[in-house]
């Protein structure tokens, strides 16, 4: 398990990660979300010891990464698919990793097969597409059969088959009891695979909860109700603490109340219902809701700055 406590990274001009405390659990895919400059990559690099925290720590099985006996068996990471020697082939890249980590050569071939790089295994990496580099990065992350897998934007550059393959792979890894941390801007992909979501904005932890809890807490989620006595039902629901918005003569949107309870209140008040349906927000809507106004880099900000000038 990865334990992150009060992790902070300050640079002269900004705080990249601010007092971050969280655990990364086994057996679940955790989506790691946040706008550009939120501190996701900095956090991932601090987990791997590439960046020293200004304050706080990251422990993997109660030790910092650099103190682990066989680190590649604990954490496998894809931080940057371009972090390769372009003159090497995929087989050479993985052989280097296997040699340094004392792994068998057979493991190299297994990873090449797993990531579908058999045909390109001996070509120089400089001839690879970005998607192929992503596959190689994933092969490198998995070569030590680690307990925790960290993937930074792994869906970037993958084709439809690649996305399906990675989706299945991450879910299989979680089913095998491994902790999988996936950062991505493709909310749809994270929604498909993640059981838990961590959201960062401006270096701070905005949300750390499972998907079910996140859906419930969201303002974007509501229950759509259709009745010919909308005003009467509205009063009844509001008296029980629900937030209700009229959406036309016979339609209302209800927030902060379970669908079952709405049905019961309507029943008790003898109000006929023609529609009672739960509207689930997409992860993208939830993400937008949570990070609104906390982006470091957005097209609006740029526009505003231009206007200020």
């Amino acid at each position: 398990m990865i334990e992150i406590k009060q992790l902070t990274k300050k640079y002269t001009d900004k705080v990249a990660v601010d007092n971050l405390t969280l655990d990364i659990h086994s057996g679940v895919v955790t989506g790691f979300l946040g706008p550009n400059g939120a501190g996701k990559s900095t956090t991932m690099r601090m987990i791997l010891g590439l960046i020293d925290p200004t304050k706080g720590y990251v422990f993997i099985d109660k030790k910092p990464y650099c103190k682990l006996d066989n680190p590649i068996n604990k954490i496998g990471a894809l931080i940057d698919a371009d972090a390769v020697n372009p003159r090497f082939s995929a087989r050479q890249h993985l052989t280097f990793m296997a040699t340094a980590a004392n792994l068998s050569k057979a493991r190299v071939e297994e990873m090449i097969f797993l990531t579908g790089l058999e045909k390109a295994g001996d070509k120089p990496i400089k001839e690879y597409s970005f998607g192929m580099r992503q596959r190689l990065g994933i092969a490198g992350a998995l070569i030590g059969d680690p307990d925790t897998i960290i993937l930074d934007e792994p869906f970037n550059g993958l084709d439809v088959d690649g996305i399906k393959w990675l989706r299945k792979l991450t879910m299989d890894l979680a089913l095998r009891g491994k902790a999988v941390l996936v950062s991505s801007h493709l909310m749809g992909e994270v929604q498909e695979i993640a059981g838990r979501v961590i959201v960062l904005a401006r270096g701070q932890l905005i949300a750390d909860m499972d998907m079910k809890e996140m859906n419930q807490r969201s303002l974007s989620g509501y229950v759509q109700v259709k009745t010919n006595r909308a005003q009467e039902l509205r009063r009844a629901l509001e008296s029980k603490g629900a937030d209700v918005i009229s959406n036309g003569k016979d339609d209302i949107q209800v927030r902060n109340m379970e669908i079952k309870k709405i049905g019961e209140i309507a029943f008790v008040n003898n109000i006929p219902l023609y529609e009672l349906s739960k509207y689930q927000p997409t992860l993208e809507q939830l993400y937008t809701e949570l990070t609104k106004g906390r982006e470091d880099y957005s097209s609006n900000n740029t526009k505003k700055k231009r206007e200020e000038k």
Partner: protein, 256 residues
């Protein structure tokens, strides 16, 4: 540690660039050695047949200087590219102990430069012997202690400059700066020789060139001549000082 050194060695040997560059390095050393020995009437004011046998060999061995320069350029390019391509992320993900990574790199380049140095020393020496032979002169004997000392000293030079370049590249993470510093140390004695003899007497013996020339037995008497023990200690001090600075910097700075 052995597995890290093995991995670093494999990394060097994987690349076609290494093989091509090595071939060019060897040919250049050999050709420039021949050029130096055939142009002594211009460089030393004496024709080849007026020179003692040992000087003919020494002129050929100057080709090793070219090999040393090419080797340090190669070292800086290869190591700095790990930082510029971010391949160092992969290296540190597998071996997060930065001291281990640095030492493995130093060991791999130490072995590599020893092999290269042995080859170019053998080539340039053999070429010198061949020139003596075709001019109908006696070849020098390897049983002669002075010749062995000369060859050993010449062989030490590419190894030393390669190792300090490893340190400079870890210190600066930049090939241009590392090459400049290594070359700077190599040619510093030429600048110092512009100064007064008193200053030369103080500074020249402290520089690696004095140690390397003294090891080879070709040092200029008075200004740079030091004993073999002092020479060895001087080279070790240079190397260990740079090693410590580079290690401190490599451990201290973030890898972004």
């Amino acid at each position: 540690m052995i597995s890290q050194i093995k991995a670093e060695w494999k990394k060097l040997m994987f690349m076609n660039f290494t093989k091509i560059y090595l071939l060019i390095l060897m040919i250049s050393s050999l050709l420039l050695g021949i050029t130096f020995s055939l142009t002594t009437n211009m460089t030393q004011g004496r024709a080849l047949n007026e020179l003692p046998n040992i000087d003919v060999i020494t002129a050929n061995l100057l080709g090793i200087d070219v090999g040393a320069i090419m080797l340090l350029v190669f070292t800086a390019i290869i190591i700095s590219s790990e930082f510029s391509t971010k391949f160092i992320h992969v290296v540190l993900a597998v071996t997060p102990q930065r001291g281990k990574v640095f030492f493995a790199k130093l060991a791999a380049f130490g072995i590599f430069s020893t092999c290269v140095s042995l080859i170019i020393t053998s080539l340039t020496f053999s070429c010198g012997q061949f020139i003596l032979y075709i001019n109908g002169r006696d070849m020098v004997s390897l049983a002669d202690g002075n010749i062995i000392r000369l060859l050993a000293g010449c062989m030490a030079m590419p190894i030393f400059y390669c190792l300090i370049t490893v340190c400079f590249t870890f210190l600066f993470r930049n090939s241009a700066l590392s090459i400049t510093c290594s070359l700077g140390i190599m040619i510093l004695p030429a600048f110092i020789s512009w100064f007064d003899e008193k200053i030369q007497m103080v500074l020249l013996p402290l520089l690696p060139r004095a140690a390397l020339h003294s090891l080879s037995g070709i040092s200029e008497l008075g200004t740079e001549s030091i004993s073999i023990i002092r020479s060895t200690i001087s080279l070790l001090i240079w190397l260990s000082t740079l090693y410590m600075f580079a290690l401190w910097n490599f451990k201290r700075k973030d890898i972004i």
